[in-house]
Subunit: 112 residues, 2 copies
C-alpha cells in the first residue's frame, strides 16, 4: 500500500487538450488533482452529472461554478464546492491556469 502521493511520482493522465489529472485513492474515496491550462475559457463546459458525490477545493485560479438552475458563482483559490449525487454541474475557467482538487465517493472507475 502506497500512502503518500507525491505530485512528482503520480502518473498524469491527459484528459483533453490542456487538462491533466493525477489521482490518489482508497477503497471508496478518490481524489483527483485536475490541472486546467486552457483558460480563460469563453464559455462554461457542457453540464455533466454522475451518481458519485463530489466535494472540491479550488487550489489555484478562478472559475465560475454552475450547478443545476442556480445562479453561477465566482469561486477563487481557497474556495470550495459540494455536488450531491446526480446534480448537473460545470465550470468556466476565468484564469489561464486552474487547479481543482476533486474528491469523489464512490471511486470514479472511469478515472482509473
Amino acid at each position: 500500500m502506497e500512502f503518500a502521493g507525491k505530485y512528482d511520482q503520480l502518473k498524469a493522465t491527459k484528459v483533453s487538450e490542456g487538462i491533466e489529472r493525477r489521482i490518489v485513492k482508497t477503497e471508496n474515496l478518490l481524489l483527483a488533482n485536475v490541472e486546467f491550462s486552457d483558460g480563460p475559457t469563453s464559455e462554461p463546459d457542457p453540464f455533466h452529472s454522475h451518481y458519485h458525490e463530489q466535494v472540491s477545493y479550488i487550489a489555484d485560479g478562478e472559475v465560475f461554478l454552475f450547478v443545476g438552475n442556480e445562479e453561477k458563482v465566482h469561486l477563487k483559490a481557497g474556495d470550495h464546492f459540494a455536488i450531491p449525487s446526480g446534480i448537473p454541474h460545470t465550470i468556466q475557467r476565468l484564469t489561464k491556469f486552474v487547479r481543482i482538487i476533486d474528491c469523489f465517493t464512490p471511486i470514479r472507475e472511469d478515472f482509473l
Copy 2:
C-alpha cells in the same frame, strides 16, 4: 442546498490552539480545510485512526507524514496522501503554516 463553499462564508471551528477547520459536505463525503498555524512542531502529534477513509491534499506548507510502521515521508504543498479505514497515522508540521484539505467518507459526524 448550498453548493458553493466560499472560504469567507464558511464557519471556522477552532480545533485546538493554532488549528482551525472549515468544512463542506454532501451526504457521504466531507471535505475539511484544516489550517495549522502552530508549526513547526518539534515532534509528530500522537497517532490516531478512524474507520472513515481519508484522502488529503497539502495546500500549503510542509509536513512529515507517518502511517503505521512505515518510514516517515516528507510531503510539501502540491502533494497528497491516502489513508484506508482504520490505519493509524499522524503528521508533524515542518513550516509555520500548513493547510491540508482532508476528505473523508463516510461523514465525520464528530466534525459537525
